[in-house]
């Protein structure tokens, strides 16, 4: 198995992958109705951003990107906890986790 291309992976590849992941995450946020899937899509977007951070950090030889990733992961974990709690309580109340529920909140 030729492993050459692994050594040849550059910044561009990481960025393209991150972009793909971000677009997939965004599509999920925009299109899916299930709140849980929605949260997962948000995680996907955050992780794609994390990926760019790490990639740039390695490429530039700076530590800043790594530190930022830790922050993002911490906030994402907190956000996931809150989001899941909401999802659970919505499910308990309405027996579904459809995002359409929030339309009832419009003014």
């Amino acid at each position: 198995m030729n492993t050459d291309f692994i050594n040849n992976i550059g910044l561009t590849h990481y960025l393209v992958l991150a972009a793909l992941l971000f677009v997939m995450g965004m599509a999920g946020v925009l299109l899916r109705r299930n709140v849980i899937v929605l949260l997962m899509s948000v995680e996907l977007m955050l992780n794609s951003v994390n990926l760019t951070f790490v990639a740039f950090s390695k490429y530039l030889g700076l530590i800043d990107g790594h530190i930022m990733v830790f922050f993002v992961m911490t906030i994402a974990a907190a956000e996931a906890a809150v989001g899941l709690a909401l999802a659970v309580s919505i499910f308990k109340r309405f027996n579904e986790v459809n995002i359409r529920f929030f339309e009832h909140l419009k003014g």
Partner: protein, 637 residues
């Protein structure tokens, strides 16, 4: 002095607050007492005034500073001097009599309290007008009497015609008032003050030859204001129509007070007017023209009050003629005597109308002498006074005016001749009025039984009748005074300090003056005799004469079509322009523009509302699109 001004106002308040009460007696008593107190205070004040030495004969009060803006400093100041003393005596004196008469006349009217409150308010404003020591206070009263005349002329406002007469008076007066304001502005801009005393002191001592000089322009504008208030050409049209109001109102407004405001104002500012010979010329010509013009219309009128109205217009013309030739004293003199006999005649006509059950057409009267002896007698005295028979009041004042018109450097024999023609015509139409109303055969419809008026209405008539006889004796001309044992001319002496002498004026020699008097008296007597012959001896002749000169008669009968002319050339075009402007500019343009703006905002609002769905994913999409647009914008740049 406060009492003079304020008691009518208090009377107005009392009656105004209980305007729904129907008792004419109570309301009338309150109003009459209010004016009566004012009259007594006026007498006391004037007595005080007389006791002062001649050089400082003036009582001035300043209640408070009204406004002080930059150079414009106006105080609510009031002044009694020789001129306003006469005015307040006439206003409150004749006013009291008219109030008294009104109690009887308005006895059956439901709105009597309202009527009397207006009457009091009118007196209050008139007093403001004559007592104010500056043009602005005068203007307040000037506007106030305009308002009250509107209220009183249109008092029976349920009748459309009467309401329209009120509006006509109001609007015509507003035109004059606009000019009055302009005059005020010009004088203030030039002389920096509105105070009469200061203005008169600042008036140019040399005559102003140009038409556009400050004094000329200012006084011309003021004079236009005066033509509105005092019913002169071209703004006289409101006065005959104003006869629609209750008859005592006609007596009050159109004989004794409001219509004389213009004359009073000119006399008040006489040094300023004297500095503007062009204005004086205009005033004299307008005055003389009005005197003749209105008198000719008076001949053809059939409504008893309209005849008197045109007679008032004509007599006011004499006053302006006097002002125009510089005889301000004579103008004031005629103002006073006219107030006596014209108020008398208006009240007399009120008594006749009352007796005839609201009939005003003199063709349906005649022979009333038998039924209304006292009214007839007093009216008779008024008649002698107005046609200028010696020794009745009108003779002295009118002949003084005519003498001045002939003799003054500002006058001319032409003006005198016009005045004499006016006097002849006056004698004719007043005799006609007397003949058709009181003398000759009765033409009263059989269902009307004329009866003499109650005492309340007769007392004022008698008092005014006496005044019409003796009122002129305080101004007996020198020539006659000499013959009768040196009777002094009290009037001239009294007004002397405030009237600017006419430059280059020489007294007439006795022969000329007697000749002039003789001519005018003879003319008046002949024309009265002719009228008597026409309307009493052979009632058919006037109709035959009218037939013969039908075209001329018709023009005069229709008042020279002046009203129609105003409608055709001024009012209707104005109304049309306004209507077109309203339709094309306002409805089609401005309204549409504003509607468009409204629609635009509302459309934008509803669009924005459609975006706000509450769908979170849509919001997220907008954010996404926004980011893409922003990013691409950044990149493309």
């Amino acid at each position: 002095m406060a009492l003079v001004i304020l008691t009518p106002f208090v009377g107005f308040l009392i009656n105004g607050l209980r305007y729904k009460k129907h008792s004419a007696n109570l309301a009338g008593t309150i109003a009459t007492i209010a004016v009566g107190i004012s009259f007594i205070c006026s007498i006391i004040l004037v007595a005080d005034l007389i006791s002062l030495p001649e050089e400082t004969r003036k009582i001035a009060v300043s209640f408070f500073d009204w406004m002080a803006i930059d150079k414009l400093k106006v105080s609510a100041g009031f002044v009694i001097d020789q001129i306003s003393a006469i005015m307040i005596l006439v206003i409150t004196g004749v006013g009291t009599l008219i109030h008294l008469f009104s109690i009887g006349y308005m006895h059956h009217d439901k709105g009597a309290a309202k009527y009397f409150s207006y009457l009091n308010l009118f007196i209050f404003n008139m007093l403001l007008l004559v007592l104010g020591d500056n043009l602005l206070v005068m203007f307040v009263g000037w506007e106030g009497v305009g308002l009250c005349s509107y209220l009183l002329i249109g008092f029976w406002f349920t009748d459309k015609e009467k309401a329209a007469a009120g509006m006509k008076a109001f609007v015509t007066n507003r035109i004059g008032d606009a000019a009055f304001l302009l005059g005020m502005f010009v004088l203030f801009l030039t002389f920096g003050t509105l105070n009469f005393a200061e203005l008169n002191a600042l008036a140019p001592t040399t005559v102003e030859a140009s038409w556009l000089g400050a004094a000329t322009l200012g006084t011309l504008f003021l004079f236009i204001g005066a033509t509105g208030k005092s019913a002169q050409i071209p703004l006289y049209v409101w006065l005959p129509d104003a006869m629609a109001g209750p008859t005592p109102v006609s007596a009050l407004i159109h004989a004794a007070t409001m219509v004389t405001a213009g004359v009073y104002m000119i006399v008040r500012l006489n040094p300023m007017f004297m500095a503007a010979p062009n204005t004086m010329m205009v005033i004299a010509i307008i005055g003389a023209a009005t005197a003749v013009f209105a008198a000719t219309i008076g001949i053809t009128q059939n409504d008893i009050k309209k005849v008197l109205a045109y007679s008032t217009v004509s007599q006011l013309g004499y006053m302006f003629l006097a002002c125009g030739v510089g005889a301000f004293g004579a103008a004031m003199f005629h103002l006073m005597t006219h107030a006596f006999f014209k108020a008398l005649m208006f009240l007399g006509s009120g008594s006749v109308i009352h007796a005839m059950h609201e009939e005003q057409d003199i063709r349906k009267m005649g022979g009333l002498k038998k039924y209304l002896p006292i009214t007839h007698l007093t009216f008779f005295l008024g008649w002698l006074a107005i046609i200028g028979m010696p020794p009745f009041a009108g003779f002295f004042s009118k002949d003084e005016i005519l003498a001045y018109a002939f003799n003054s450097p500002l006058g001319s024999p032409v003006l005198w001749a016009m005045g004499a023609i006016g006097a002849t015509l006056t004698a004719f139409y007043m005799t006609r009025l007397m003949a058709l109303t009181f003398w000759g055969k009765s033409r009263v419809p059989s269902d009307i039984h004329p009866h003499e008026s109650p005492a309340l209405m007769l007392i004022p008539l008698i008092v005014l009748g006496v005044l019409s006889v003796i009122g002129g004796w305080i101004g007996i001309p020198h020539v006659i005074g000499e013959y009768l044992g040196h009777i002094p001319n009290v009037w001239e002496h009294w007004l002397h300090p405030l009237i600017k002498p006419i430059p280059g004026f020489h007294h007439l020699d006795a022969v000329t003056e007697f000749t002039l008097m003789g001519i005018s008296v003879t003319l008046a007597a002949i024309s009265a005799a002719v009228a008597y012959h026409f309307y009493v001896r052979s009632p058919e002749t006037p109709n035959r004469v009218a037939e013969k000169i039908k075209p001329i008669y018709n023009v005069v009968y229709h008042k020279y079509f002046v009203d129609e002319g105003y409608f055709a050339f001024i009012i209707n075009p104005l109304v049309n322009i306004s209507r077109n402007t309203w339709y094309y500019v306002d409805v089609n343009f401005i309204d549409k523009m504003t509607y468009l703006a409204g629609d635009l905002v509302r459309g934008m609002g509803s669009f924005a509302r459609s975006i706000q769905t509450g769908n979170m994913q849509q919001y997220a999409m907008y954010i996404g699109i926004g980011v893409v647009v922003a990013l691409s914008f950044v990149i493309m740049r």
